[in-house]
């Protein structure tokens, strides 16, 4: 076996008795290639997943030994009004943010797809925010939202004679203000994906519809949108997951009172961060991550269910 290993495989070796040893040799290569990755996925992905479930049934402050307390963390969470506030916030980001960003992205992609003059340049303008660092841009937006004379938006409102808005200090305005930053940051990606989806629609469909006298609006409703369904579903799921996991913008725009004012902007991931790494309530934080996992799992399964006839 070892001697053969060193020998180059000659065409002659591919027939008869040598066949089995070649298969064994191939299998050795395969498992050799996979050995380190299997170790990695076991230790860095699967074990921590199980560990998170296990921890969610314990009470642990990092110092003492973890104590098994059954479902007490979950009972505590579901009885905690603060958790439900965070839960509502998280879904507010999702339910308002996803449709707004998708409608904007589709409209822009639809028209940008037809533009030829300076196409690459205009596309770059829309795409640029997507590749910037979220924490850096959060600070730029935070500056925009300051009261006049510091903040550009309020200075502008003042100049045209409107009342100023306490963007980040008001419990009504803070969440939409942060959400706008997140929509802005993700828009470029969605536009590019929509444009790729639009270009994948065969041109003959449009020609046939035009010959049949279908108008632009009819083409959009009867051809473009239905054929774009896989792209749209992908983007809905992608954007939903993004909003459900929102963190960078919220953390950076509310550093003086993370998730404030009065918890009105706090999403689930920020709550998890604080429970684990400010309060060191590891078991409770783990239970919160299990809730996040469950929500994300439902979103992914919904996608699979909607797209089931395509597989």
């Amino acid at each position: 076996m070892t001697i053969e290993e060193a020998e180059p495989v000659r065409p002659a070796a591919r027939s008869g008795g040598a066949r089995l040893s070649m298969r064994t040799r191939r299998a050795l290569w395969v498992w050799g290639f996979l050995a380190l990755p299997i170790l990695f996925y076991s230790v860095i992905r699967f074990y921590p997943t199980l560990d998170a479930f296990r921890l969610s049934f314990t009470d642990w402050d990092l110092m003492s030994t973890p104590e098994f307390i059954g479902v007490e963390n979950y009972a505590r969470m579901f009885g905690d009004p603060h958790f439900w506030q965070v839960f509502r916030n998280t879904f507010a980001y999702l339910i308002i943010g996803t449709p707004i960003s998708l409608v904007l992205a589709f409209t822009i992609a639809f028209f940008l797809d037809r533009v030829r003059f300076a196409h690459t340049f205009i596309r770059a303008l829309y795409f640029l925010p997507f590749i910037t660092t979220a924490s850096a841009m959060a600070w730029v937006w935070r500056w925009f939202y300051q009261p006049a004379p510091t903040g550009a938006i309020n200075s502008f409102l003042g100049q045209i004679g409107l009342t100023q808005i306490d963007f980040l200090k008001s419990t009504t305005w803070a969440l939409p203000s942060i959400m706008a930053t997140a929509i802005w940051a993700g828009l470029g990606f969605q536009i590019i994906i929509f444009m790729a989806g639009l270009r994948a629609i065969p041109q003959t469909y449009y020609e046939a519809a035009r010959i049949d006298g279908v108008g632009e609006w009819g083409i959009l409703r009867k051809i473009t949108l239905p054929l774009l369904k896989p792209t749209t579903v992908f983007l809905v799921v992608f954007a939903s997951i993004g909003f459900l996991r929102i963190f960078d913008q919220v953390y950076n725009m509310t550093t003086n009172d993370p998730g404030g004012p009065l918890g009105s902007t706090k999403p689930l991931v920020l709550l998890i961060y604080q429970t684990a790494f400010s309060s060191y309530d590891m078991g409770y934080a783990a239970a919160q991550t299990v809730v996040l996992f469950t929500i994300l799992l439902i979103v992914s399964l919904l996608q699979l269910w909607i797209m089931r006839d395509r597989a």
Binding site: W29, I201, Y251
Partner: protein
């Protein structure tokens, strides 16, 4: 479907070509929208060139532009350190992903062996697990092994990804078996076949994977925030946050810091725009 896709792209006429005024309006609106999209970036750069006395003057072109803020921010060396940390982390993780994701993707695409489907589904299933669920166990693991506040601690969770593996598997499936078989007959070993024959055939996918992994790790925030505690180990996004908190209301300094954190990604984008956009499309359609 794929053949139709290819032709649809080339043969697209201009549906609005007939309506000239309409086209001009569309273009103008899109252009204004695009300028609005980059307005935050323009204001950031503009303010970074103003001194403290000018920041309430919201004109885009500074009256008396100065690089003094940049000298002050770069002066104490922390930004340079964070920049190097981010580069080191992002490059190491990218190299690891390009190597391992494509090795695993290739193995799953081009070998038939018992357990193949199981390994594939196991790796794919990790896509369902959010990072946020893993950070607490990772943190405990890092504390046990002494990985907290180390480069390895920042890097280890991302050394391989299911997304990259899946992407590469899709592309290796398009490589004809005849090429690999020919190399086998020439006496190349399996590793050399992968590295010297198969890999050069999937360079578009490799560059997409590399760009994504690099940008993703360059801008990563959540895990580096948790695992690093000393300023010497901060990556650029974490360093910027700590810097901005410390500067409080010195917005010209904060904007300079934000600009310094943004400039590298802008340069990468300007140099690689074609590949980045193509990569996003590629990953979005395949993924």
């Amino acid at each position: 479907m794929t053949a139709a896709t290819a032709t649809a792209r080339e043969a697209r006429p201009l549906p609005m070509a007939r309506l000239r005024p309409g086209r001009i309006v569309t273009w103008t609106v899109l252009f204004i929208g695009g300028v609005l999209m980059v307005t935050p970036l323009l204001f950031m750069f503009s303010t970074s060139l103003k001194d403290a006395g000018q920041i309430y003057d919201l004109r885009l072109i500074p009256e008396d532009p100065t690089l003094a803020n940049y000298f002050e921010v770069l002066g104490d060396g922390r930004f340079l350190r964070w920049f190097l940390n981010s580069s080191l982390v992002a490059i190491a993780v990218t190299l690891s992903n390009v190597f391992f994701d494509s090795l695993v993707g290739y193995t799953l695409a081009k070998f038939r062996f018992r357990g193949r489907q199981f390994v594939f589904l196991a790796i794919l299933s990790t896509l369902m697990i959010p990072t946020e669920m893993l950070v607490i166990p990772w943190y405990l693991m890092s504390a046990n092994f002494g990985w907290l506040d180390t480069y390895w601690g920042i890097m280890f969770p991302g050394m391989m990804t299911a997304f990259g593996t899946f992407l590469m598997k899709q592309f290796f499936e398009t490589v004809p078996d005849d090429f690999l078989e020919a190399a086998r007959i020439d006496g190349l070993n399996e590793f050399a076949i992968w590295w010297r024959v198969a890999m050069p055939l999937v360079t578009p996918a490799l560059s997409a994977l590399a760009i994504f992994t690099f940008l993703g790790n360059w801008t990563a925030f959540f895990w580096p925030l948790i695992v690093t505690t000393s300023s010497e180990l901060y990556t650029l996004p974490i360093g910027l946050t700590s810097f901005a908190v410390e500067q409080a209301i010195r917005w010209e300094m904060i904007m300079t810091g934000a600009a310094l954190a943004t400039i590298p990604t802008l340069i990468v984008f300007l140099l690689l725009q074609r590949y980045i956009v193509r990569g996003v499309m590629l990953a979005g359609l395949k993924g």
